[in-house]
């Protein structure tokens, strides 16, 4: 075959007008992952392959062998592996812009504070911490360090929940009257989520999705909380934490939202919103994929045709863009703090058998 035979311009290279060739990014943001548990291994690390702006550059783990293996899979330089004692020296590593904290809930505050002290921006898993006081301390530290602090509410960055928020807030259902949400799974022991010491429990680990959803769908803060819980005596998984927590929130506009969360049911992750003129249903609302969004009114039920994304890639690209541009993320520390306030009130309602008022 000679050059003359070959097409000067291959026909497949004629792009239809709508084919968009992505722009090469000026710079990718460097990320360190702290904690190589299930979420990191199964979801976060693979998601870097779908990021446009975030690149994995460092790992922090208490297990040198595991960290080496993970580094090999993802092409991380073995020199970029830290353990928990060398963690603070990450301050001297210019390749790391962001630290993503994927540790047990009870360790979020400490590793966030140390990471901020090291001059890095922080993405911290939810729940932000184990108390309102810790949250306030973390927010203050970020302000002092002039670094960004984002809480990993991935659903705020995926298109189905984003669309649900839009529909609810723009009044497509009329006034919002009632909501229900459930987030349940069968949690197998041993699991840090079953440890109160480590900040686990169904409310902290899965229930937070329901209450966060109630807040982002209404755009309001609750004024009243009632709750109940079940902690079976004959199931060794639930020595420290309840199996099931159910709660009701009342919002200033009159919306009543009921949520339940459980570590003892088959997988259940949905929410339903009812307004004066229609309703909205998202199922799965909270899983990593498989969202289906239904709108209903008296004439029809419609499933929207939206393109799913990888939640973790979307969230990490969003924060990378914030870090590059200096603008604040959609879910800063204040979001995590607001949820902790509600969690604290739910715990009080369970303890006292009384409706708890929240000052907003």
């Amino acid at each position: 075959m000679t050059k003359a035979d070959s097409p000067p311009l291959a026909p497949s290279d004629k792009q239809p007008p709508h084919v968009k060739i992505p722009e090469p990014p000026a710079k990718k943001v460097g990320w360190a992952i702290v904690g190589l548990g299930q979420l990191a291994i199964e979801e976060v690390l693979p998601a870097f392959g779908q990021c446009d702006l975030a690149k994995l550059v460092a790992l922090v783990s208490g297990h040198p062998e595991k960290a080496k293996k993970v580094a090999a899979v993802y092409g991380v330089d073995p020199k970029q592996i830290y353990d928990y004692s060398s963690y603070d020296t990450i301050a001297e590593n210019p390749a790391v812009d962001v630290i993503y904290i994927i540790l047990p809930n009870s360790m979020h505050a400490e590793y966030t504070l140390r990471g901020l002290k090291a001059g890095k921006h922080i993405l911290c898993e939810k729940p932000m911490a184990t108390s309102v006081a810790e949250c306030e301390q973390m927010i203050a530290a970020a302000k002092t360090a002039r670094r960004q602090l984002m809480i990993a509410y991935r659903l705020r960055y995926e298109p189905f929940n984003v669309e649900a928020i839009k529909r609810c807030r723009e009044g497509q259902l009329g006034k919002l009257k009632t909501m229900r949400a459930t987030n349940g799974q069968n949690t197998q022991a041993p699991n840090i989520r079953l440890s109160q010491t480590l900040g686990g429990g169904p409310l902290q680990d899965v229930g937070i999705y329901c209450l966060n959803a109630f807040r982002y769908l209404t755009g309001e803060e609750p004024i009243e909380v009632s709750a109940t819980a079940h902690q079976p005596k004959d199931d060794p998984r639930f020595r420290e934490v309840p199996e099931t927590v159910a709660f009701a929130l009342k919002f200033p506009s009159g919306t009543i939202a009921q949520g339940d969360c459980s570590f003892g049911t088959s997988e259940a992750r949905r929410y339903d919103v009812h307004g004066t003129h229609g309703s909205l249903h998202l199922d799965s609302a909270f899983a990593y994929l498989g969202q289906r969004l239904i709108l209903r009114d008296s004439k029809m039920a419609s499933e929207l045709n939206l393109s799913p994304v990888n939640h973790f890639a979307a969230e990490m690209d969003h924060f990378s863009e914030c870090v590059l541009s200096g603008k604040e993320s959609r879910t800063p520390g204040a979001e995590g703090l607001a949820d902790l306030r509600v969690i604290t009130a739910i715990q009080e309602a369970i303890r006292t058998g009384r409706t708890v008022a929240l000052n907003t």
Copy 2:
């Protein structure tokens, strides 16, 4: 055409083995309808056309003109029309076996007692009455009169709810852990349901479906109730009754059930049951038709293929059969009483902001 030309046995008359020619009933049970409101006009009266054992023979109404018109449509002898003052003379009418009371809730007790005194069996709409005391009085009166008293819980006679009960009780979902139910609609004024005096309100009129469902799905009586309500000040419909009531029930086995009901939302009628191994979803759970029953586990979601029936015809045929056979119905007065106990506890929980314990 001569006789010889015609087939001695028309081929279409050869029945495939599975064609069942219904048996002519020995006797049909005669029914009187008390109250010609929306439910009677739109649902109950047309359902007689689908009954095998129940036939409409009399009407009781305060509106002579309307009653005459209805009698003409349904072929009721005009002599069989009563008004509220002549109601008691129905005792002398041997054609009437059963009286179906479709009056405002506050009148259920009185018309049941008068009907029992007239020697008739009673089917009474739900809620059975406006207080536990009334319910107890009605049950006692039926016992004294040696007549049957059934409460019109139509869903206990339609195949989707019956199947849901079977699946929940037989353990197909594993242990039942959480349940949610909603029953909502936009109630237009004027409507007796908006009148507290007449015994109306969202809890009494639509919420009762949720709590009854929790009881029939679990087969248990609740031991704890918490609740909240919203009564908007700027909506003239809700001067007497709340717009929305939400409540949580805790059952002896640990199941937690959350229900909400509203007169201010677009139509919403579903329940969701979550167990250790799977979940069950019925939507619409409570409407007159359109039931879809979904079972889910980790491998699949399955919609059962059941044949719908007319709920009112099924309920009226069931009670007719009870009357003919002397056996007790599936939803006797005790069922109505049990619901009133829960309703009363929910009202107390709303009033006090406290969890209310129920003695069972």
Copy 3:
């Protein structure tokens, strides 16, 4: 209880504005059913209980015992039972206005002609007859007798198919480009549908729904037909008729429609219509109940919320109204004739292995 105590106007009798009390009909139309096969027993006879304008007054059957039993169930005077030799004397029965012919396909023409001669209006099951010539003869006889002849295309009277027609014809999908329909079931022997002598076969008995749908959805007559069939040699059910027939129709506007029908599959009854801008899906399209109508475009898939009706009651009330008013039905003999033309062309295409042109 004294009269003074009872309410002069019971509150439940206050109708909300939208409660419509049906008008008593001036006259109900009297119907005779000819043939007490499965369709009559299981579907048509029970449907009278839901009719507003049609009442059952006579039965025609070759089985006196069965006819008596059926008469007892439905309250038909035993004197109003005919057999196939006394059928013509129905002319002298003024209570009978309409004869509904539910006989094997091969008998449709004869019993229609005899019924018209008896001066009655005829509702004839589909397929109208076994040949184009028979259809033409039936239409001519109705004209001569000045009686109405309607073919029992029940789907033209039920709201889901009616809505589908509206959406397709009004251009909501853009131009119609492709359609697919299937109507399949597992037909058990013995069954008249498996007899070619009696006019049976999958094309005549279930495939006709597909081709009729293609015609009513497009509003056009096909211009080209191709087809194929399968008749398994090892299945004794299919000695006379094929198990499966598949065909493609081309319409003047360019729409291509593919249908299949089978007596050897589990139940399958749906159609799909694809246009330039959207698609429409009805499943079940052809069963007696359970219709679900979905519209799709690039943004969403919507299920319409329509109220189902009893197909047979709707069809019989429609024809009763035509008889009372003198206006022609939506599915006169011409509709049945048009389908027979297509059936004939499909049979020719199977036989010859060639595309058959239809003159329209």
Copy 4:
């Protein structure tokens, strides 16, 4: 913070037993992409981020500027960019193991032959070529070169279609009787798919999915083909190719399959399989994501809960594994050849208006 303060073993690092840390691959297979059209840009290149065994190492394009930009986005060394005249020198590049040909259909044969001559393994987009003769030549060339040739039937590597095949072949539906498939879209001009010269057309570009599905679901080769097509005269897009093609295939076991494909409808991509005991429905069957697989029998309709994958990553990893292990792929050249035989028969059936027999 001192070392003593930090946990020697962070609790999140305790893996639940089911967390699998992926093994670092011994070697990743190097891929060159030939043709940077829409499919490459939008689907194939981003999929490398989700591959375990395939890595992108080279690009072949007629557009140097575009190639440079794409190389920058995906981290390809600019020296690894070829144009159509330098393509053959890829033989000297040891980093390239596999060439993936994503060119217009008419160029598949040439670039496959040249790639094989360069000693590389070939993944070639479907349809494999524009004639049976070309396919045979390609297969022979691969044999001579001792290199693997795989056709890019991505659906054979994604779990929903794989499960559908399993269910159909293992008899879960009973004997397969009828099938329908549709693959339609609104193709906008200018587009190489609208060019007959370039080997485009609805049958070649989207209809091939339907006929390939019929073959993989039955596991048989068709014995008879009938077909029809529509080429509107008033639409400038369809000067060279039809808008719509519909065809019917008959298989040796008696299964009849009807497919249609169109460049003039809104998106439609599904198949339905009907057997003696049940049916199977996949929608979308052919799109890049959003598969939903439904199984139906007389008792229920079940949607299977399968985990979706990126089709292109799955296909490229599969072929990488074949290249590493030397075992043949699931879709070698013979698969592409079989489809071309059917395509050729469909074209003949359209041209002649006759059923075409296929020798198998």
